[in-house]
């Protein structure tokens, strides 16, 4: 139960995490998943392809990322995603919102007397 609930929180965070990966450089689906796996460690299981790709396409529709294809080395083009100016702005707002949540938790639940 606790695991399921934390997964829900992670999913809420996933758009921020994906945009944060793209802040470093444009990346493709598998590359984004691997970057997230490295960052999340034991919690990497929450990043499933069935969640990641719909999320990327949703971010693209919202114009927070844009995609383009380049010749790939496996005989087919590879689709890359890049963060847009609106994506930068959204990420900044999301990071600030999560910072406030974290500060709130520190002041209340995690407070040590």
């Amino acid at each position: 139960m606790a695991r399921n609930e934390s997964e829900q929180i992670y999913k809420g965070l996933l758009d921020t995490l994906v945009l944060n990966v793209l802040l470093v450089a444009p990346n493709y689906g598998f590359g984004i998943k691997e970057s997230l796996r490295e960052q999340l460690g034991d919690d990497a299981e929450v990043v499933k392809e069935a969640t990641l790709y719909p999320l990327l396409h949703r971010l693209e529709r919202k114009e927070l990322v844009l995609s383009y294809r380049q010749p790939g080395d496996r005989g087919t083009p590879r689709k890359y995603y890049n963060i847009t100016r609106s994506g930068h702005l959204y990420l900044k707002q999301q990071i600030e919102a999560w910072r406030q949540v974290s500060a709130l938790l520190d002041r209340t639940i995690f407070k040590k007397d």
Binding site: K33, A50, L66, Y68, P71
Partner: protein, 335 residues
């Protein structure tokens, strides 16, 4: 419900050039393909992305010591239910269809309504035209609806389910580094010649009609002027197929019939997409952008840039120009 199969015209078959030789991956891709909407080219965008992911993923399992069969099976299992991915593609395309249906349909129907109003006698006949606008509203409304639905459906269907984006081409190595070239496919040039002949004929007929010659003479001055301009816009707009863009580390060059323009890459400060209406009415078939660049004196200039999906590397160019502009904005704000 197999409604989506109606959108797979003209080819339903799986594109066998995507076969990987790994049974589990190939079976998954074939299963996914049956659930996707659109022509082969549209479906391939999703299939190629999935194929790329599955091959990368299975290679990782191989490196971990799995057999090729087991690696493929694990990659497929990890990727999840094909229906989930297919549903995402279908819903995305249906949303595009709805948006384009409204945009194309309403724009075309409004244009036709405007032309009908300007030439009531030739459109409705002398007798009906004499009755006045209010009495003719039901006829005009029916025509408006018909035009919106017919044209909207036709154009949005083509745009959403049939149109195939050009394959990306490799960057060109030169002595000064790599150059990203953006250019149209051969088929676009044939289409442009057809447009030039067909729309040029309409445009010239209307021009003749303005002087009282030919079959367009009874259509009235206003209608002939509008159709002349629209015909000329479409005929000349096709010339975009011969435009060529080159982006190197140092400069961005536009080569077109109107001449060549070169802008230093570092001076690019923005790439703004113009509205649908401006793109629809502008000269050149495709999306219209304003490329903003700044000269050494700090003066800003704008160049019109037209890009469409039939051009190789058009998506890469947009992404690179936007990233270049964002980098310039970051440098400017840091200073």
């Amino acid at each position: 419900m197999n409604f989506h199969r109606l959108t797979r015209f003209p080819k339903h078959a799986y594109p066998t050039d995507l076969d990987t030789g790994n049974a589990a991956i190939d079976q998954y891709l074939r299963n996914l393909d049956t659930r996707l909407v659109g022509s082969t080219g549209v479906r391939k965008i999703t299939l190629e992305e999935t194929r790329d992911h599955l091959l990368e993923s299975s290679e990782l399992y191989l490196q971990q010591g799995e057999s090729p069969e087991a690696a493929g099976q694990q990659a497929v299992a990890s990727f999840g239910d094909a229906e989930v991915h297919a549903q995402e593609q279908r819903q995305g395309r249906y949303k595009v269809f709805g948006t384009m249906f409204l945009r194309f349909g309403l724009t075309f129907a409004t244009l036709m309504l405007l032309m009908s109003l300007l030439s009531m006698p030739s459109f409705l006949g002398e007798e009906k035209a004499a009755r006045g606008l209010i009495e003719n509203v039901p006829t005009l409304a029916k025509t408006y609806l018909f035009n919106a639905i017919f044209f909207g459906f036709f154009m949005s269907y083509w745009y959403t389910f049939a149109f195939t984006q050009a394959k990306p081409a490799p960057v060109k190595p030169t002595d000064d580094g790599e150059v990203l070239e953006v250019y149209s496919q051969k088929s676009s040039k044939f289409a442009a010649v057809f447009l030039l002949i067909a729309m040029g004929f309409i445009s010239l007929s209307c021009l003749a009609g303005l002087f009282g010659w030919g079959y367009m003479a009874p259509s009235g001055v206003a209608l002939n002027i509008i159709l002349f301009l629209l015909g000329a816009q479409m005929a000349i707009g096709g010339f975009i197929a011969w435009d060529r863009y080159e982006l190197s580390q140092e400069a961005f060059t536009i080569r077109s019939f109107t001449g060549n323009h070169t802008v230093p890459r570092a001076s690019i400060v923005d790439l703004q997409e113009k509205s649908f209406l401006k793109s629809f009415l502008g000269l050149g078939i495709g999306k219209h952008y304003a490329l903003i660049w700044q000269d050494e004196a700090g003066q800003r200039h704008a160049i019109n840039l037209v890009l469409n999906g039939e051009m190789h590397n058009s998506d890469s160019l947009i992404a690179t120009l936007k990233a270049t502009a964002d980098d310039s904005a970051t440098v400017a704000s840091d200073n």
